[in-house]
């Protein structure tokens, strides 16, 4: 079974080749790209289109690799043991596995069928985090000291890792992954993406809003360029507010800013920049 995108997610041939290579060769796939180009969404869509369960592990700055494997709750076992003489089942206390909280990696390893495991924003964690997962992702097994047994994957999960480039990942880690950089979609692809989200969008509005969008993106001085997800939000707003392509055309005549610009530009300086450009008569759209 091959991944070719879904009805809600347009995958370029480049991207689907990378996904299929990672699936077939059972190696993790590292996805990078501008924010809002659908890195995280990819894992959801891969799981959906291949009909596999999805386990998501969202990494934060305080996440350690161990949390993805398991956590041993020694304190609650101690507490239970103190309460044992008050009628609590002592078998429960003897069985260590009652106090082991399984992490996402363990859950994915234990899954009855092959699962998709998303490790989201791996660059947010500590700089050593990827190194701590080398063995686990390579061999798809780890050792649980408390239970004194090795947990290995029943079916090697499809691992999708996303990164926003906040930190450099170690070479040893990169060597074990397939890598794909999601480029910002060109106009044709973007049109397909918008089509998927708004099948009933009038052609003229689509064309006009796309050209406004791309011309705003072309402004070099922008701090944060609007991306796909911002475009989708913006088009949704335009539709809800009943803005037609004529209104967008009138912008030229009236020398006005596009409506709901706040959906595209999330940065105060960027909005100010657009106002300043308009005043100087150098509107990009």
């Amino acid at each position: 079974m091959k991944f070719t995108g879904t009805e809600a997610y347009i995958a370029t041939r480049e991207l689907s080749t990378a996904v299929n290579a990672a699936v077939q060769l059972q190696k993790p796939l590292l996805i990078k790209g501008e924010p809002g180009t659908g890195k995280t969404l990819l894992a959801f869509e891969v799981a959906r289109s291949l009909g596999k369960p999805l386990y998501t592990w969202h990494v934060k700055s305080t996440t350690s690799a161990q949390q993805g494997l398991y956590e041993y709750d020694a304190v609650s076992r101690l507490r239970d043991s103190q309460l044992a003489d008050r009628g609590l089942d002592s078998d429960r206390i003897d069985d260590l596995s009652n106090y082991i909280k399984k992490g996402k990696l363990w859950e994915a390893f234990e899954s009855d069928e092959q699962a998709v495991l998303l490790i989201d924003e791996i660059d947010k964690a500590d700089i050593e985090f990827p190194n701590d997962l080398l063995q686990e992702l390579d061999r798809m097994e780890f050792y649980c000291y408390e239970l004194q047994r090795t947990i290995s994957a029943r079916h090697r999960p499809i691992v999708i890792i996303t990164s926003n480039n906040e930190k450099e990942l170690p070479d040893a880690f990169l060597r074990r992954c397939f890598f794909h950089y999601i480029r910002f979609p060109d106009r044709d692809t973007m049109q397909q993406i918008v089509d998927v989200h708004f099948p009933n969008l009038p052609q003229e509005l689509m064309a006009k809003s796309l050209s406004v969008f791309y011309s705003i993106r072309d402004v070099k001085a922008l701090k944060k360029k609007p991306s796909t997800s911002e475009l989708i939000d913006w088009v949704r707003l335009l539709l809800v507010a009943g803005v037609s392509h004529d209104d967008l055309n009138d912008l030229d005549a009236l020398n006005e800013l596009p409506p709901y610009l706040g959906a595209l530009l999330k940065n105060e300086q960027d909005s100010d920049l657009m106002v300043a450009l308009r005043k100087r008569g150098a509107r990009p759209y």
């Binding site: 101690l78 700089i127 930190k167 450099e168 950089y181």
Partner: protein, 400 residues
Amino acid sequence: MFLDFFLLLRRHHLPVTLPEYLTLLDALRKDVAEPTIDDFYFLSKTALVKHEQHLDLFDRVFGEYVQGRESVPAEVLPDIPPEWLKDALMRELSEEEKAAIEAAGGFEALWERFRKLMDEQNERHEGGNKWIGTGGTSPFGVGGYAPEGFKTDKSAPGQGQRRAAKVWENREYKNYSDEVELNTRNIKMALRRLRILTREGAEDELDIDGTIDRTSRNAGMLDIQMQATKQNRVKVLMLFDVGGSMDDHIDLCNQLFSAARYQFKHLEFLYFHNCVYETLWKDNHRRKDRMPTWEVLHKYNKEYKVIFVGDASMSPYEITTPKGSVEHYNQESGLVWLDRFKAQYPHLVWLNPMVPAYWQYTQSLDIIRRWSGNRMFPLTLNGLTGAMKSLKNPKVTFEG
């Protein structure tokens, strides 16, 4: 069978290794992709390239490889047949210039040379068609020839999928390689050595010793004690020498700068030129916003670790005598100010981007080195590691 491709990548200094190549072969054997050149491009890219900075180089090498294998010049250069160009050119050229072309080996040779020039331009990452057309001596400028005619751009994107051939020729990833994010990982790892872990803030960690202690006192009934987690609270003050001779080391300093900014939570930057005097500045672009050095000394207490970054190469007078600065009349000599820093901050080092072998030839460098008590370290990974050790233990010095 793709070994020559692999070796070609290695020759262009793309960091590909044998396991990755084997992975690629494995993928090909398993029929992951269709046996087309496009899919081979996609597949080899995802298997071999691990950094977006390398994508542009990969595209160029791939283009070179495919070109060498299939020998499809039409793919690389425009569809304009050389004859057409020749005719157009001949019409434009004067008799004298035609003679010059003959002398250069005829039009065919010129065409070959043009192609080579184009390739070379690509390789050199020059971009644009600057070479051709400008430069009075270039044969392609003679006829007043617009370089657009030679452009390899096949615009008009097809419906649906873009052809991969277009992707690697267009070098879509060029920007990513232009704004190369410098690999600062190893610098960060070196800076990590400078850690002072203290417990502050919310108590969110189990204090095992405390819990055992309190529980025993509590006749065995559990009494849980919590404590704050350890975090790096080291305070760092960095002073960068900018301008003049430091311009040669700007890349290295940028790397250090970006690594440090990420690694230390409490980090202050200040700039100076050649030597510290009565004022420093906070923003390199706005030198007018000066900050009195006394204020710096008062504001940052002696807990701060001070790192000077500079080549310490100047006229000795700029350090030793009053009014020695090249920029203004300084009432007190640079050494007086340096000594004030030394008195205030027990933990300080000087990082020097110059190669230590040349240190002995610069008198001013020697003065500063003596002033620092041999705590001047070269701006290399080892030097940086030594400097971080020295900031924890001032007895660590660099004898070079």
